[in-house]
Every structure is written in C-alpha cells, then in structure tokens.
C-alpha cells in the first residue's frame, strides 16, 4: 500500500461469521438468566415498570429504585431489580463510526472498522436475542431491526462498508429515529467526539455506552516504530501531518494524553450509567462485547 495516500478499508465478514455471532448472542442470553434471577415470589409486588413480570437482573446505578427487589435483598439475594416484559424488550441503538480514520491498521494489521463492525453486529444480535429492538446507524443509513431474522439484513448492511469522510457519529445522537432508544452504544475511535457532549445527548436516554476501537499504532506507538526514529504522523481525515522523533518521552506523553481522554469518556458515560470499553483492532470481538454487556471491566 502506498503510504502517501490515506488508507482505505472495507468491512469483510469471514464465512461463518453469522453463526459465530448467533452463538455469542445465545451465550449472552443464557448468562443473563442466573438461578437467582429466575426466582419469582408469588407475594412479590408488581415490578415498577408496567407490564408482565419477566424476571430479575442485577441492580445498576441509575436504575429506578421502585423496581428494586427488596424481598430478594432481605433474603440475602443481593441487589436486584425486577424486570417487566417491556424492559426485557429494550430498544437499543448501535451507532458505528466509519470515517476515514477507522481504516487505520492496514496493511500490517486488520483495520479498526473490521472489529467495530463485528462488535456492532454482535451487539445487534444480543439485543434482538433478548427480545428487544435495535436501530443500527451507519454511514449507509439507519436500519431498524425487530427480530433475529433481521440480523441477516444487518450483516448485509455492514458487509462492504467503506471508511470515508470525517463525519463520525455525533450527528446520529440528534436523530429522531434514535431518540426512542433506551440504550445507545457508540462504536468508533472516539477521537472526534467531545465526551462532554455525550452526557448532553444521553440525558434523554437511560443509558449510553461506548466502545473505543484503536489500531495498534495508536495504542502502543513504540511497538510499531523504533524509538528515536523520525516519524511523520498523518491524519487521513484532515490531511494534516506532523513530523517528530519518536522517543520514550514523547510516547509517554502521548499515552498520558490518550489516557486522560479516556478518563473523560468514562466520567461522562458513568453519569448516564454507561461504560467505556477499549478494544484493539484485530482482536476477536467476543471479549470486548462481553465486557460491555457485563457492565464491568474485565
């Protein structure tokens, strides 16, 4: 690949990837239903939300305390909230960033967009498997998914998706189609999004999570270049460049700036009950998706 031109990348799902995603979604659904969560007391009050009692789940900060299962807590069952049929069938929105910077990674490693697309598809599958509805937003538009049968459409919408432009996914937060989602998951490199705006947009929703997908050269630059070598950093979206000698001190400052940026993201997401997961391009999607769905760090 000619390094003078910005990298280009397309999403390519390997054969059998659909089955892999389906099995992951089923495993996640089974993990959600613990024996304690299956317990339902006849004297239990009606769940706070309207609708049929559908089970329990672990309490998360921000949950409505009216749904708190005090009986289970009194019995030493831990902190749980009651679920109604409407809650278990949540409405999710999965927003995928396919700007030009998501193509970074090639040729030595898979591009960021590949893992991002796999995570998006996996999260769509999990949401559908849980009985909910998912809105998948990409550069190609918004795809409404209502059942597991729509997963193939989602896969078709993501396959061949090309990285281009610098739009990012911030405009999707204001879109009417995604305003009804109770949970929004943004997947991208998060470089062009101000974390302070995240809380502003997520205030209308119950929860917002984010998955930050970074290329290896962005996570550990010294691992990809020799210390002391002269490097010209180029931004594929703006065309700007910066020439510098890559040394230990410079790499340490870069890592500190990146860590600070992620701390700001975590703080913003925590205010709306969300999590930030950092994933490395080229990794399998399962651990990162599982970490996000668990609601705690691995």
């Amino acid at each position: 690949m000619d390094s003078r031109h910005p990298p280009t990348a397309r999403v390519r799902f390997a054969p059998g990837f659909g089955a892999r995603v389906a099995s992951f979604a089923l495993a996640q659904a089974a993990n959600r239903r613990t024996p304690r969560e299956d317990f339902a007391s006849s004297s239990a009050a009606v769940a706070a939300g309207s609708g049929e009692f559908a089970g329990r789940r672990r309490y998360r900060p921000g949950d409505d305390l009216r749904a708190f299962d005090w009986e289970a807590f009194a019995r030493g069952g831990g902190e749980h909230v009651r679920l109604s049929r409407r809650e278990s069938g949540e409405r999710w929105s999965v927003v995928l960033d396919s700007s030009a910077s998501m193509a970074i990674g090639l040729p030595e490693h898979p591009p960021k967009i590949q893992l991002a697309a796999e995570l998006a598809l996996a999260l769509c599958a999990v949401g559908l498997c849980a009985g909910g509805q998912v809105s998948l937003a990409t550069e190609r538009g918004i795809l409404e998914l209502r059942s597991q049968a729509d997963l193939a459409r989602a896969m078709g919408a993501l396959d061949g998706l090309e990285c281009s432009g610098s739009l990012g996914f911030e405009p999707w937060f204001r879109h009417r189609a995604l305003a009804r989602a109770s949970r929004c998951i943004a997947i991208g490199d998060l470089f062009d999004v101000d974390p302070a705006q995240v809380a502003l947009h997520a205030a209308r929703r119950r929860r917002m999570d984010a998955v930050c997908v970074l290329a290896r050269v962005e996570l550990a630059p010294l691992a990809e270049s020799e210390s002391g070598s002269s490097v010209e950093w180029r931004d594929p979206e703006s065309g700007a460049s910066l020439v510098a000698r890559l040394g230990e001190r410079e790499a340490a400052r870069y890592s500190a700036a990146l860590a600070l940026h992620h701390r700001h993201w975590r703080a913003s997401l925590a205010r709306v009950g969300g999590e930030l997961v950092i994933a490395r391009a080229g990794d399998p999607f399962e651990p990162h998706a599982a970490q996000l769905l668990r609601g705690r760090r691995a």
Binding site: E218, S230, E232, R234, D235, Y254
Partner: protein
C-alpha cells in the same frame, strides 16, 4: 587602513547552496510515514503547551545543522578571507651631520683624498636609498657656531662638506636621539643612541697620543703603538693674541686645570688656539660656550 577582503569572492555564490540543502534536508526528513487518528494527541505530546490545532514547525536535527554550518565554513575558507595590510606611511628622516674637525680627516678605505665627511654622507645616502626615503623626505641638520642649519633635499649642501664653511659646533646628540633621526659621524658619539640610527664613516686612528699614562703617553704613529714621555710641548698652550679676552681667559683656565702653561706662539705647544678668518655669512654669536 586595516580591513578584510575575499581573495576569491566568486566562491561566495556557493552560500546559496546552504538554504537549498536545508530545504532538501527538511523535505527528506519525514522518514517513516504513519497514519493515525490521534494526530492531535501527538501534537499535544510534542508541544505540551501549544494550543489545540496549532501547527508545529518542523525543525532540523542538530546533525543536519552542524553539517550545514561546516559547509558554510568550507565555503568561506574557499573564498580565502584575508586581511588588508596596513599602508606604510612614507618615511621622513632627519640626518644630523657632524662637522667636527675629525670629519675632514681622510677616510680609512685607502682613499686618502676622500674626507670622512664625504664618505659618511655617501654611506647615509646609500642608507636612504635602501630604506626608501624619498629625496624630498630628507632633512639635513648640522650645527655651527651660529646655530642650527637645516636643509631639505637629496643631499646636504655642498658647502657643508667643505672645511672652509666653518667649524662645526658641539652637537646635542642626546636631544636628537629620536626615531627617524640618523646621526652621521666618523665614530660613535659619546652619548649612545637608542632610537636614532648611526652612519659612521670610520677611519684609522689619527697619529698622535692616544692614551695618557701619567708622565708618559701611548702614541700611535700610524703603524704601531709606542710608549714615550710626553713631549715638552705638552706643558704649554699657545693662544692667539687676537683672541677675545674672555676666550683667552677661559683657555688659560682650561690649561691650568691640566697643568699646562701658556707659551708664546713661536714656542712648541700641545695646543694652539688661533683666530680664523670670519665667514662672510657668519652671524655673530654671543653668549655661546664652545670647545671640547
């Protein structure tokens, strides 16, 4: 005037290569290109206090700067920087001519007819030629009983070289010991010169007593030294009757100080003081002390 100049100024055009080389070095500096979405984070890490989005000026590494400096110094060396030698100011000499009686004795180079004064003047002219003293830059000075005599020109006045022009007076050598002064004499004056130059004609020893041994003296007869008693004439001096009284008294005192008697003109004497015919141009002098 002191200053600097380049012997090969055309080599200075090569200095134009330096910015060109610097531009080439900067344009070839990038090295390994890396695409990243975190360019702003790199900019912050390289310039922690730079505002966001600020453009960072690329600087040349120290090795490239040192190489360009070495190229610049090499070009200056090729241009051959030199200093302008100071222009020497023309020489002006004052040549002091000794006209004491010994200067009119024959010179010692076998030319018996050439007096010492002429020989010394010729030697001084040779010195002026060798030193590049232009004729108009030569000033001749001598002392007579009527005071100083000054003349400019390539040679001293011919009259000065004639004994008949008049006796020479005592020269104040000490006051004339200065740069750009040359003493012309037949031997080294009693006062040693430290700044002035000396031209000596040289000569053989004048036959006669050369050393006082008390009752005897050492006499040079022109060929060898001999010790002999002082001639009886040593005991007296002869004074011309026409001498002014004060001069005769002074001479008498001088003789007495040396245990010499005054004798008549027809008697043998070791010293005779006579009145010479006055020069037509001679000025009367008053109040001047002269003599050995």
């Amino acid at each position: 005037m002191n200053g600097w100049f380049f012997a090969r100024p055309e080599a200075l055009w090569l200095l134009l290569l330096i910015p060109l080389l610097g531009w080439l070095a900067r344009s070839s500096e990038p090295g390994l290109p890396q695409w990243t979405g975190a360019l702003e984070f790199w900019r912050r890490s390289l310039e922690p206090h730079a505002p966001l989005g600020a453009q960072r000026r690329r600087s040349l590494p120290a090795s490239v700067v040192a190489a360009l400096l070495a190229v610049m110094l090499a070009i200056l060396a090729l241009a051959d920087l030199r200093s302008i030698p100071a222009v020497a100011e023309p020489l002006h000499w004052r040549l002091v001519l000794d006209r004491s009686p010994s200067m009119f004795l024959p010179a010692s180079d076998g030319l018996q007819d050439t007096p010492r004064i002429r020989r010394a003047v010729e030697l001084s002219l040779e010195l002026c030629e060798r030193s590049g003293v232009e004729p108009q830059a030569r000033e001749w000075l001598t002392f007579a009983f009527d005071g100083e005599h000054l003349s400019r020109g390539a040679r001293p006045p011919e009259a000065w070289l004639d004994r008949g022009w008049g006796p020479g007076a005592e020269i104040p050598w000490q006051s004339l010991d200065r740069p750009e002064h040359v003493w012309i004499s037949d031997c080294e004056p009693r006062f040693a010169a430290s700044k002035a130059g000396i031209v000596q004609s040289g000569a053989a020893i004048v036959p006669g007593a050369v050393a006082d041994l008390g009752a005897r003296c050492l006499v040079w007869d022109g060929k060898q030294m001999a010790e002999q008693p002082w001639p009886s004439a040593r005991e007296g001096i002869s004074l011309d009757a026409r001498l002014p009284r004060d001069i005769a008294d002074l001479a008498t005192l001088w003789a007495q100080a040396r245990e010499l008697k005054r004798v008549e003109a027809d008697q043998p004497a070791c010293l005779r003081i006579a009145c010479a015919e006055p020069l037509a141009s001679a000025k009367p002098s008053e109040g001047k002390v002269f003599g050995p």
